[in-house]
């Protein structure tokens, strides 16, 4: 059985393989679809919705939607970009993001996406929720103010570290990341060497004492916009 076929993204025909997601196929073809919760080493869960594309007229999350022969996909259209921008704005106003004082600045995927979308200030009113800061772990800081609930840490701990340090608790606007200990992160078996420590796209999980080892100005997204690595790939 031939398991490669063609799909179309924004009018461009590309090769796709059975079992790939739309995002996998687009990545391989050098087409960047913006994303936040997805990570190459983790099972995708489709929670941030930034990767929304239109497939045969219907919205789908590219990170979870498997490709099918002949799919016609819209990625880079004004309507889709506007919806994505709205979602990015929502993430900024639901938390407390002080990018200019944040250790993650320059390495933060949310901040980098905002720049890529030309967002200087969110269009929605800040909600200023009260969030906890958990400094109980000797080597790791957990600052819920900057959490975007992408659940990368939940998956990394389970899938890559063979642990179960994190899980979502609560629901709706009060949903948050809980830890598998009596009270705080310090009560869990999390280690600084865990993959879950470095997989956070924002500044919610942070390694203590190394925040400014790489100076501002020389960080990942100071050099090139987010997505450039994918766009450089030419099949």
């Amino acid at each position: 059985m031939n398991d490669t076929f063609k799909i179309t993204i924004d009018g461009k025909e590309i090769e796709a393989r059975q079992g790939q997601t739309i995002m996998d196929a687009a990545d391989a073809a050098g087409i960047y679809i913006p994303r936040l919760c997805s990570h190459p080493d983790l099972k995708p869960i489709g929670s941030c919705r930034v990767c929304t594309v239109v497939v045969d007229g219907r919205p789908q999350a590219a990170c979870v939607k498997p490709v099918m022969d002949g799919m016609v996909i819209e990625n880079d259209t004004p309507a889709v970009l506007q919806h994505r921008r709205n979602i990015i704005d929502m993430m900024f106003v639901e938390g407390n993001h002080f990018c200019m004082f944040c250790e993650k600045s320059g390495n933060c995927e949310l901040q980098a996406l905002a720049y890529r979308f030309g967002i200087t200030a969110p269009q929605y009113p800040f909600q200023f929720p009260e969030k906890e800061v958990d400094g109980s772990h000797p080597d790791i800081l957990l600052d819920h103010n900057r959490c975007i609930m992408c659940a990368r840490c939940v998956r990394a701990s389970q899938e890559l570290d063979g642990k179960n340090v994190f899980q979502s608790i609560g629901r709706g606007f009060h949903r948050k990341i809980g830890v598998n200990g009596e009270k705080e992160l310090g009560d869990t078996d999390m280690a600084v060497s865990d993959r879950a420590t470095e997989i956070c796209p924002v500044g919610c999980i942070i390694k203590k004492r190394v925040g400014y080892e790489v100076p501002i100005g020389q960080r990942i997204y100071d050099k090139a916009p987010i997505g450039s690595d994918i766009e450089e790939v030419h099949p």
């Binding site: 939607k65 919806h83 639901e94 609930m149």
Partner: protein, 604 residues
Amino acid sequence: MSEMVSTIKKICKRYGNDRARLMDIVNEVQDALGHVPREAFGLIAREANTHRVEVESVVSFYAFLSDKKQGAVVIRLCDDIIDRFKGSEAVGDALVAALGIGFDETTADGKITLEKTPCIGMSDQAPGMLVNDTVITNLTPAKIPDLVRQLMANPDPQALVAEPGDGNNADSLICAMVNNNIREAGPVILADYRKNAGLRKALTQTPEEVIEDVKTSQLRGRGGAGFLTGFKWELTRKARGTEKFVLCNADEGEPGTFKDRVLLTERADLVLEGMTIAAYAIGAETGIIYLRGEYAYLRGFLEHTINQRREAHLLGNTILGHEGFNFDVRIQMGAGAYVCGEETSLISSCEGTRGDPTDRTPFPVVKGYMVSPTAVNNVESYCCAARIMDKGPGWFASIGTARSAGTKLLSVCGDCERPGIYEIPFGTKLRELLARAGAEDVAAVCVGGPSGQMVGPAQFDLGISYEELSTGGSVMVFSNQRDILEVADAFMEFFVDESCGYCVPCRVGNVLLKNRLERVRKGVGEQKDLDYLQRLGESVKFTSRCGLGQTSPNPILSTLKNFRPVYNALVKENKTGFHKSFNIMKAVEQASAIAGRRSEIFHA
């Protein structure tokens, strides 16, 4: 060993220390201890072979579970908009006065807890409340002092039921003051029928022939989405898997819907017959009825009905002597979460986890409960299937319209003389339904619940059907005395409370929508706030992950479309040149205080 420890160990053992039964375990711990204490999370996790944070994750998800100690009696006042319009707020005040506590508080003696809860499925006899599992309907403020006095003297809520309602509500296993309020019976579901004739007929055919019949009948799912039932069964049958499952969606969480309540009361046998036919058709041996926590009062009766069917060889091994056909059913109790009516959430909940939806590729028909092929159908869909097998697919398809075959069970409530259950052929005009229900001076009707549409008189000549006015059963009537945006606001509040929070647009977008609607309602909004609502609503619909977020902006979007003048009247231009939500007097107040003098330009 402390009592708590031994109680919890016993409960976990009863469920085979199985993490997939975590819902049942924490439900029972809640009943036994009045809460699921945080100190017990670790113990439950160890006993049920899971992690502490997984237990917390489940307990924190469901509204009926709590990690704080509650009274032996928990009063949950229904806070639906229909109940509010029927006076539930005054009832709430009376409860607060009689108990001497506020909402979300427990009396000083630790005996009674007071809460609010969304629609409990009693909108035809509102205002209503739950006292533990007992339903109290037709409340008035005057009745409250007596009810509370009785509860203080005797904490058994069942003692409050002075006179049981009609039909099986009077059965000793239900004994509820609930009334069925069946106003109009139709030929399919509420007509007299020959018990198990459909099942007997099915067993004379091959499973493939049964599926063919259901396909020919054009039966579409009655839970709202309208997927072709025969097609769903065929996909489940054809999907690879050693085990397959039949799930009955009795979550009935859409506000204003109460028709499944009546079916479970009056047609429990027919529901189980339909599930058994489905099991035969797809090759399943296990079925689950997912019963919403609000309908716990029906559980004993349903269990009894299941037992009776086992004794009559209608469930169990070798059903009706049919060699190799084995099927049995269990009940899974929900615990107060609207999203658990969404089929993938329902499956998560049955598997003992929090009720987050899962991705719908693969679909449940391929990988559902326990990663096996699963058919999830609504209560009413199973009833239809059983009747189709008995009376024939042609008979069924001849009722209704070309694209909507059969009849639909509607639950009509709100401002009308005769709220209750109407079985109507598809295609019946909304106007005709309103007349039959005795609804006059109607300004708006919400068809399909908060996730449906708010329609006005210009739409009353449309028919109830999948192609025109689609509904899982909810029809809420609002007279011209009602504030339509108060209704929309209440619906948005519902979605904010019920969003699972998994995806960004639904978790955040609904909060933003509700806040902006409030601004408009206060009269400090402007035309551009209406554009904001429209655009934001469209984004939430477009990008949300499951059906909840994909429909949650409907109260705003459908009122913007059908009741625009109401909004326009609220956002008249203002002359100051400032945003209407900006109060200059307030803004300069502090500066004036510091300066010690009033502003020269802006002063009262």
